[in-house]
Subunit: 111 residues, 2 copies
């Protein structure tokens, strides 16, 4: 099949999975890390920094933009990318709502 069933699950579950999928590639994580350091950076910087082809970086940036995590503006002949801080907090809370479901009061295993 290769197709994920989404109709069986809640909107929160699907949204969390969708965002996790974007974070599930080390190149995209590295792009985010690089954007943190630079606070804004252009595509060619990333190509030089990550060692992947320009087309590959561009494709990863598109996926980061697709969920609104990264935004880019035209800067003359080049492109300037940065994190969308509003979306960042939103996603952070989405993950925290998962992580905080499991209370850490219970130290022992249940099984």
């Amino acid at each position: 099949m290769g197709i994920t069933k989404t109709d069986l699950f809640s909107e929160e579950q699907n949204e969390l999975a969708r965002v996790a999928k974007v974070l599930s590639n080390p190149a995209r994580v590295a792009i985010l890390h690089h954007l943190f350091k630079a606070n804004a950076c252009i595509n060619s910087d990333l190509v030089h920094e990550l060692g992947l082809a320009q087309a590959t970086i561009s494709q990863h940036l598109r996926e980061l933009k697709a969920i609104g995590l990264v935004q880019g503006t035209i800067e003359g002949v080049s492109m300037s990318y940065c994190i969308n801080p509003v979306k960042w907090v939103e996603i952070k809370q989405l993950f925290n709502s998962l992580f905080d479901r499991f209370g850490m009061d219970e130290e022992g295993q249940c099984c």
Copy 2:
């Protein structure tokens, strides 16, 4: 290709991506949600609850076990699964180390 290059990235970046990939399927998120509610539950419950085939659930559980997030013990003829609280905190911190890199002091966009 279809193969992810990992040699270009740091261990932290690869690890985060690896865990995110496990969370990138809504069925696996739903399994975690269900484990939270029950604190322990068996496979057949999940099959009934999620509406996926038994083989599919079993495969998802294997991936959750592969990263140590879920553990199962034999309970007679059935199986008892639960969250590994130690690994859970570890993964929570792994994600927080990503989310906390971006300070929320800057409200405006950079570009």
